[in-house]
Symmetry: C2
Subunit: 345 residues, 2 copies
C-alpha cells in the first residue's frame, strides 16, 4: 500500500507559497505563482502542478527571473491596450495586477488587450483564460516559447510550441476553455517517451537533418513539427508576430538565444485579449450566453467532448475532497521547503 | 491550340461589374463583389475567381441576398467596436464601408473590431485581411459557414468549415497572410475528388454513420473532419462563438437551417479584428516591422515558405500582363452578361 496525504487546496497553497518564500521570492511573486501551480495540481493537470516548482526555482537560481520583482501597471489613456511590465518577474503577478483593468476596459471598449512584458512565463495559459472568463468576458491568450518547432516545410527549430488558448464564460458551469500547444505534441511528451524507451508516433518530429523520425533522442536533437501541418505552422508564426514582435517582446528564437537552454522557464511577453459578449451582441437578437449553451449541447449531444472537462471534474473532486499527494511528492515538498534554492541544481 | 483572351484587371473588373448590374445588384453591391472576385482571378485563386459569379447570382435569384442593400454604419461612441449592418446584402460593401472607421479606431485604441451583421459571405477572407494590412495594421478575421464539419469525437455535421485568417503588413512586400478552412479540406476539394472519380485521402471525412470514409459521395452525405483533430475542432468552435454568437449573428447550424442547402452562399456575420503594431510596441525596444522581417527571413532561410506567395506571384504577373481567360470562360461571362439571373438555375 502506497501512503498518500490529502491536503485542502488552502493548505497546499500555503505550503507551496512557503517554498517560494524560502526560495527568495517576494510575497507578490510567491503568492501568484503558487496559485497557478496549486490550480494545476487541483485540476489533476500534473504537468503544470507541484512538479513545476523545481523548474521555477531553477530559473530563479540561474538568475533568469527576478524574485523581487513588483510588476508595474503602465498608464495608457484612451486606449484599449493595458500594459503591465513584469519587471523580470513571473508573468502571474503581472496578470493579477492587470486583470481588473483589462476587464474594465473590455467592458467599456467592447474589447481590450492586456500586454505583459519582460516576464518569465511559467504555467499553462488556462489560468489566465479563466481569470478573464470569471469576469463574464471571452478571452484569447497566446505567448511564444523557445525555438523547438520547425515551420512546415522547414528543417530546423525556429518557432516555439507557442500555446494558443481561448475561453468563453458559462453561467452555472465551468467555462468553455481550450489551451494547446501549436506543435503536434508538447516537448514534455517527447521527453516522457524517451524516458519510457518508447518510439514516438509518426508526424511528431524531424531529426537534426530534417528527416522524419520516431526516435525521441533524435527528435530532441532535431525539431518538433507544428500541428495540422502548414495551418498550425501559420498559427505558430502568428503568435510570434502578435505575442512576441507586436508587443515589443522576445520571439522564440530570441528567447533561446537569451536563455541558451530549454531547461529553464522562458522569458518573453504574453498577450491576453478580452471581449465583452454583451457589448458585441448589444442590439442584436438573442442572448449570447444562452445561445452558446445551445452550441455546447449540440457538441456534447453527438458524443463529442468539450475541452478541459477532465480538469473540471478533478477540480470539483479536489474542492470537496482535497488534493491527494504521494509520499514521494510530500517528501519533495518538505525538501524544497527545507533547502530552498539549495535543493535545485 | 486553345484560344485565350487576356484582359487588363480594370477591363475584367468592368466586365464582372456589368454582369452583377445586369443581375439586379445595385452599384454598391456590384462594385464591391466584383472587386473581390476579380482579386481572386487576378491572384490565380480560381476557386474564388469568376467561377464564383454564378453562385452569387444563384443566391440572389433564390432570394437569400438583398441585391439592393445599402450597408449602414451603426454609431458606437467610445467603443473599439465598429458595427456595420450589411442589410442582407453581400459582406464586401459592408467591409468597404467599415474599414476606414476600423483603421481609425485601431490606431487610436490600439486594437478594434469590425463586426459585419446580416450579410451573405461570399469570398475568401484574405481580401479583408489585405484591406487591413494595407492600412499598416495586423488583422485577424473569421466567420462561420454552414454545418458540414463534425466536431472531433462527434459523428454529425455541426461546425462550418469556418475560415480563420490573419495578416501582418510588410513594407515593400505583399503582407504575411494566411487564410484557411478549419476543416482538413475545403468542401470544394471533396467535390473535385467526386467529379474526378478519385478516393479522398484518409482523415478528411466520415460517412453518415460516423465511420471514416475515403468515398467522396459518402463524405458529402456524412461530415468533414476538422484539421488537427481536437485542436482544429476547438478553433472551429471558437469561431462559432466569437464570429457567430458573440456578434449576434447566425452559427453554422443556424445558417444551414435558414438556407436549407449548402449550394447557396451562406448568410451570417463576420468579425475582423485590427491591431496597431505601432501602438502595441510603443515604448519597447525595436521596430516591430523590421523585427518581423527577421522572422520571415528565418522561415524562408530554412526552405519553408510563407503562405500566399503563389497568389502574390500570380498577382504581379496579372498586374503587368493582364488576366488570361479561356474561350469557355469568356463565353460564360458573355452568357451571364446577356442573360443576368436567367442564366442561373
Amino acid at each position: 500500500m502506497t501512503q498518500t496525504t490529502t491536503l485542502t487546496i488552502t493548505a497546499l497553497q500555503e505550503r507551496v507559497e512557503a517554498i517560494f518564500l524560502k526560495g527568495g521570492l517576494n510575497a507578490v511573486q510567491a503568492g501568484a505563482i503558487s496559485r497557478v501551480i496549486v490550480a494545476g495540481e487541483r485540476d489533476a493537470c500534473k504537468s503544470h502542478g507541484i512538479y513545476r516548482i523545481e523548474g521555477a526555482l531553477r530559473t530563479v537560481k540561474a538568475g533568469k527571473v527576478n524574485p523581487d520583482a513588483v510588476p508595474e501597471l503602465l498608464p495608457q489613456e484612451n486606449s484599449a491596450i493595458v500594459k503591465v511590465n513584469a519587471k523580470g518577474g513571473f508573468a502571474n503577478p503581472a496578470f493579477e495586477l492587470g486583470l481588473p483593468v483589462l476587464a474594465d476596459r473590455a467592458r467599456s471598449c467592447g474589447l481590450a488587450a492586456l500586454v505583459i512584458n519582460d516576464c518569465t512565463h511559467f504555467s499553462a495559459l488556462w489560468p489566465e483564460v479563466e481569470g478573464v472568463t470569471d469576469q463574464g468576458l471571452a478571452a484569447l491568450v497566446m505567448c511564444p516559447s523557445y525555438s523547438t518547432v520547425a515551420p512546415a516545410g522547414g528543417n530546423k527549430p525556429l518557432l516555439g510550441t507557442n500555446p494558443f488558448a481561448f475561453g468563453w464564460p458559462r453561467t452555472g458551469n465551468p467555462p468553455y476553455v481550450f489551451d494547446f500547444a501549436t506543435s503536434v505534441a508538447a516537448r514534455g511528451e517527447i521527453e516522457l517517451h524517451r524516458r519510457a524507451g518508447k518510439q514516438l508516433p509518426e508526424g511528431w518530429a524531424i531529426d537534426a537533418e530534417g528527416n522524419p523520425t520516431t526516435d525521441p533522442d533524435a527528435a530532441l536533437a532535431g525539431a518538433m513539427l507544428p500541428f495540422g501541418s502548414h495551418k498550425g505552422s501559420a498559427i505558430g508564426t502568428m503568435i510570434e508576430l502578435l505575442a512576441g514582435i507586436m508587443i515589443g517582446d522576445l520571439t522564440s528564437p530570441e528567447v533561446l538565444d537569451y536563455l541558451g537552454t530549454t531547461t529553464l522557464a522562458p522569458f518573453h511577453g504574453e498577450l491576453i485579449i478580452a471581449f465583452s459578449p454583451e457589448a458585441f451582441a448589444a442590439g442584436r437578437p438573442g442572448n449570447p450566453f444562452a445561445r452558446a449553451e445551445v452550441l455546447f449541447e449540440a457538441i456534447v449531444g453527438q458524443g463529442a467532448r468539450l475541452p478541459s472537462q477532465r480538469r473540471f471534474v478533478a477540480r470539483r473532486k479536489s474542492e470537496t475532497e482535497g488534493v491527494t499527494l504521494t509520499a514521494a511528492e510530500i517528501e519533495q515538498l518538505d525538501r524544497l521547503l527545507a533547502l530552498g534554492l539549495d535543493a535545485v541544481a
